[in-house]
Subunit: 306 residues, 2 copies
């Protein structure tokens, strides 16, 4: 029973996968991936985070140990008979586009996220990119959280738009990339797209632009955030989830959500993501320290100061 343990400040629901990835820099086989892995690891620098996800019986013990290294609460990690979700992809020369080679859903195909009793009063919730019906299922299990962020993708806009809209209506922040924002809203300019998306319910829309940074839209304000410039990117996989995880970690640590805290959280999320892409999988995050994050955050702020 986890009833008596304190609720994690942040709950992350998402995928856990074994990835095989080729970038212009290198190729790595069967490495830990998945949105929940990246987001939880990033959040762990700032707050106590609980993971909700599913793996198969083949899931390596060393990866569970890595989660423990990050002090991730694993009460919500389910192990079921079968193989873990596997994904394989190749990035093009400029890393802007990637091509999926294979997707084997395996145990992820029948994933029904179940929140442990101890997670139900968690104040912060990040619904990483999974099927909208599953996201709704999570929202039904949690007591009114203080702040919920949802991520999505083109696939659900095309195949499950009604469910997705039902999710978007119930969350505080929608995060998605530029083309998805245009696609879901039907508007060409980001400003019009963001206004249309805000009218669907969320108080904030966070548009991710990859190496060009991100933009936070609310009813009354806009925050334009560039990306931290990097010498070399090894693997951009999981950058968006690392960004969102770091952001949510800072919010959960602050306990309140206002415009200055959100902007600060975006800076830290972006900094953690900038470290993450310097290596494959969670390799760089594994050795990262809060002091290194603070140093880079300071440099980053200097680069944004007018």
């Amino acid at each position: 029973m986890t009833q008596h343990s304190a609720a994690p400040s942040l709950v992350v629901v998402g995928s856990i996968g074994i990835d095989t990835i080729e970038t212009p820099v290198a190729k790595r086989e069967s490495i830990l991936g998945g949105s929940a892995s990246y987001a939880c690891a990033a959040a762990s620098f700032f707050t106590n985070v609980g993971m909700v996800g599913v793996v198969g019986t083949d899931f390596p013990k060393q990866d569970v140990d890595l989660y423990k290294h990050f002090k991730i609460n694993l009460d919500g990690l389910e192990t079921v008979p079968g193989q873990t979700f596997r994904w394989s992809g190749v990035y093009e020369a400029n890393m802007d586009n990637r091509r999926t080679i294979s997707t084997d859903l395996n145990v992820f195909a029948s994933f029904q996220p179940k929140l442990p009793a101890g997670y139900r009063r968690s104040p912060f919730l990040f619904l990483a990119n999974i099927q909208p019906t599953l996201q709704l299922h999570v929202l039904d299990q949690i007591d009114k959280p203080r702040f919920t962020v949802v991520d999505t993708m083109d696939l659900w806009i095309n195949t499950a738009k009604e469910d997705l809209l039902a999710v978007v209506k119930r969350v505080d922040m929608l995060t998605l990339n530029e083309s998805e924002a245009r696609h879901l809203s039907g508007e060409q300019t980001l400003l019009k797209a963001a206004r249309a998306l805000l009218s669907l319910g969320p108080k904030y829309v966070l548009v991710k632009k990859g190496e060009h940074g991100s933009i936070l839209f609310s009813e009354r304000s806009i925050f334009l955030m560039p990306a931290y410039p990097l010498e070399e990117v090894q693997d951009p996989t999981g950058a968006g989830d690392t960004f969102a995880g770091g952001l949510m970690g800072v919010l959960a640590s602050a306990g309140t959500v206002d415009e200055p805290t959100l902007r600060k959280a975006m800076v830290y999320g972006s900094v953690v993501a900038s470290f993450g892409v310097e290596a494959f999988s969670l390799d760089r995050l594994q050795t990262l320290t809060l002091a290194q994050i603070e140093t880079r955050a300071g440099r980053f702020r200097d680069m944004m100061r007018v």
Copy 2:
């Protein structure tokens, strides 16, 4: 003789053309264009600017009157027998790419920029994108200016690289777009590209990223500037020259060039460019006021504040 008139604070050397442009929003025929037109109009809000360029005898009087409306010093505007430079292009749906339909150099083919005596002691110089040998020819005619910025394009990297490198060595700032920065440096990441370009001589490298803003690199610092988000873009033609013109206008007005002034100048250049693309040609700049620029600059700073 112009010997006795005060030197303009800023001299702009570039093209003057008659454009026919189709964007997803509208099509306009035979409208005033050219890098010198955009840059001088933008600079005119902040400083006195002298234009060096060439037009044919067909150049409309109304366009000369428009230059006068902006109080541009026209001592360096040469009128020669023949037709004015003409360019025609079409923008794709997202305005990221444009296709040239036709280019008629006309009198621009034999352009030999001649600085009026009154311009030779001007402290600020913007060499817009013209053939590098002509840019060198201008540098030979001007007394050591306090700050010179040069713009270039892929064509010269491919066809006149040695001359271009000779120009770059003699200027304070090189401005170019992302793909040109990669092309000229041979480096993939912008950070490495910028370092390589700084080693060629200039103190600053300003990389333009269109709707994603720009980045200013120097030996010791980086400034990441986003772009002002717009409801609708009518015509992006000349945005880079408007940006550079506004930037140089602010620098010339300040009289000094240091990091805070440069960042401020980039904000104002970007704001003027954001107005410029709201209409074709100089249509929006024609009615723009300094008060409108200040209001938007204030909003823009709010959007960048962390």
